[in-house]
Amino acid sequence: MKNMLKYRFVFLALVGVFLCSGSNSVYAQNAKKHSVRMKAYYTKIMDSVSFFKVTAFSRIDKENVDISNIELTFYNELDGEKIKLGTATTDMHGECKFVLKNLNEIKPDSTNTYNIDILFKGNDTYKKASKSVSFKDASITAKIITKDSTNYVSATLKDIATDSVLSDRLLNVQVQRLFRSLPIGKEFNSTDENGTVVATIPDGIPGVNRNLTFEVVLKDSDDYGTVMALVNAPLGTPIKDESTFDERTMWSPRDKTPLFLLIFPNLLTFGIWGIIIYLIINLFKISKSKI
């Protein structure tokens, strides 16, 4: 009887522990949620895709914390109506990229402005949040011109909706390199009354098979976002590709082992093991040669 009483106490204690541990999760429901901040940038690459790059973070304990793995929904706002474009999920750095294959997928308002709303529904930890991005469509036409044996990058910036050139805008002219693009031309290349900049291409820029890729960029414009045009030209100083990536070298992965290292060690290994197997067979022969 006394034992049974003991068991009851144990049972009640276990129930108590269970309920107490449950109350934590109840408490979690009421925990203070953090607000989400978002930064969004629109980028258009001429003759290619357009995309939105969004960074989500939160201010927690006086520090900016990247918010990973949250789903953001992208809407095209038109006359008070929201048309869903799709979703993207943030990575471990709180970043995500939403690609528009064609700008015709979205519609501008009466002022030829595209309005995009980015919404986060909220979850157990973070409050719901939204961010709006507005931009107009612009284009950059870039080409290489040669005058008096000097090569130039010439680029013209236009507002597509009004089909008018945009003057007095800063364009970055640069050539793509391995880690970061190399600026060329003047320190500040401002478009003239024809919406054009001309930047001199210096001699001696190395390029694999002489190929260079030039970029003309309207960067982070309040009206147009980032617009970039790329143009390739064989104007570089040829460099010899000394990579041994496709060769069989001592530092290659195992599928590119030098042949002599495949042949001789394997010959030795299989040769010795062949003899060892022969000797083991001899043991069987001895065992069978009783008489």
Partner: protein, 438 residues
């Protein structure tokens, strides 16, 4: 030919006395302590060792190199002496074969102990690159284990058949085991022909395999561009060093077995004299390679080499360095020049000195070089410039040495340490020659 009963009684394995039981128990306890330490190392990771970013190879690799070196005794003693038809080898070859088996098995285990993630052992085979000498080592060690086992087993067959008969009444269970292991050996012409042919093949195979093993071990270091390792001398240096370690171990074990089994009539002073001369030759050769290894860097005085040499000659490793050179090499050479130095008891101490010297020599090959990397990390802790093994490392290493001795002890307990059949044949030949002369 009928083997005399006295000979079988003398050479058949005997039950251990009190000392033997104490010795075996001691080895088992040390091994268990080491296994416990190793389990702890696997659980906690190599944080329990004193290895660090500089000393990334420590006592385990030194110990591994020592075992690999010691296993060379099979190639040197059995194969070389056999192929050069040195008949005095008979009473010592079996012990050499046993040491080889024990040492190479423990070398294989020791390298696994050094691995931070032993569960990923198979990745060495799956993802290994032939360009890496480590993979050559991974291939040669199992190969050499197989060769050593065959080198021990083939000559044993007639003796196992003799032991089967000998123990049939005294210990039928043991006799049954000997019977199974003897592979129905009757000594008929066909069996003898196959056996002798196989032994000849193994004797020839063991020498290049042994040389490959030692050379690969040497190239593990020599291919690393590090001061103290980056030397074309390394292959020969390791082979002669292995001969010294192996013969030293052989001398010490032969002395103990002779004493424990009372084999003074079979392993005589003549054999110790021969082994002494053999050891002296190996030591002289090794001394020559040592002079090459240390004198040239000292003479050319490249900056990094001078730092390394100072560390050895006058620096923190100086006591160990001089002990190894003088105690482990010069003293044995001088002692072995004298006939009295080649008597059993002095030889035993010389053998022990050589083995201890050889073990520390491997520590000196591995550690000082690591403490002075080519690209020193900025602002490293002072402790990184020093390395002394942790308690875990010592316990595990001592356990591996105990396990090697345990394998030797177990094989000595159950196998005839002197080939019975061969001794009988030689005795018969001797008697025949004696009769024909008279």
């Amino acid at each position: 030919m009928e083997v005399s009963k006295k000979l079988v009684n003398d050479l058949a394995p005997q039950k251990f006395g009190k000392k033997g039981v104490i010795w075996t128990t001691f080895l088992v306890i040390v091994s268990i302590v080491g296994i416990i330490a190793y389990i702890d190392q696997v659980r906690k990771g190599q944080i329990v060792t004193n290895m660090n970013d500089y000393a990334l190879w420590g006592i385990y690799i030194s110990n591994f190199v020592f075992f690999v070196a010691t296993s060379f005794v099979g190639a040197v003693t059995v194969a070389v002496l056999r192929l050069t038809k040195n008949t005095w080898r008979t009473p010592v070859v079996r012990i050499a074969e046993i040491i080889s088996v024990a040492a190479i098995i423990m070398a294989g285990l020791t390298i696994m102990i050094d691995m931070g993630r032993p569960d990923r052992l198979m990745n060495l085979f799956i993802h290994g690159r032939m360009q890496s000498p480590i993979i050559w080592d991974v291939i040669i060690i199992p190969t050499y284990i197989a060769i050593c086992l065959l080198l021990l087993y083939f000559p044993l067959l007639p003796d196992l058949a003799i032991l089967k008969k000998h123990f049939s009444k005294i210990n039928p269970k043991l006799s049954k085991w000997y019977g199974r292991l003897s592979l129905n050996w009757t000594g008929n012409a066909r069996q003898t022909k196959i056996q002798l042919n196989s032994i000849q093949i193994i004797a020839i195979l063991t020498i290049p395999a042994g040389f490959m093993l030692q050379t690969i071990d040497a190239w593990l270091f020599a291919t690393l561009f590090r001061v103290g390792w980056d030397s074309t001398n390394m292959g020969g240096y390791f082979i002669t060093g292995a001969a010294v370690a192996g013969i030293g171990a052989l001398v010490a074990v032969v002395y103990v077995v002779r004493k424990a089994y009372k084999l003074e009539n079979y392993i005589t002073e003549f054999h110790f004299d021969k082994l002494g001369k053999f050891l002296a030759l190996a030591c002289l050769l090794y001394l020559y390679f040592n002079i090459n290894e240390y004198l040239i860097p000292e003479f050319t005085s490249k900056k990094e080499e001078v730092t390394h040499m100072n560390l050895l000659i006058t620096g923190q490793f100086a006591p160990l360095f001089w002990f190894v050179q003088v105690g482990g090499l010069i003293v044995p050479i001088v002692a072995l020049f004298f006939k009295k130095g080649r008597k059993p008891l002095p030889m035993f101490f010389i053998g022990l000195l050589v083995v201890v010297g050889s073990w520390w020599k491997r520590f000196l090959i591995v550690t000082p070089t690591l403490l002075h990397p080519f690209l020193p990390v900025q602002g490293v802790p002072e402790s990184w410039h020093h390395y002394f093994p942790s308690v875990h490392e010592w316990l595990i290493t001592i356990a591996t040495l105990a396990m090697a001795l345990l394998i030797i002890t177990a094989l000595v307990r159950y196998l005839p340490v002197i080939p019975i059949k061969r001794t009988a044949d030689e005795q018969e030949l001797f008697e025949t020659e004696k009769k024909s002369k008279s």
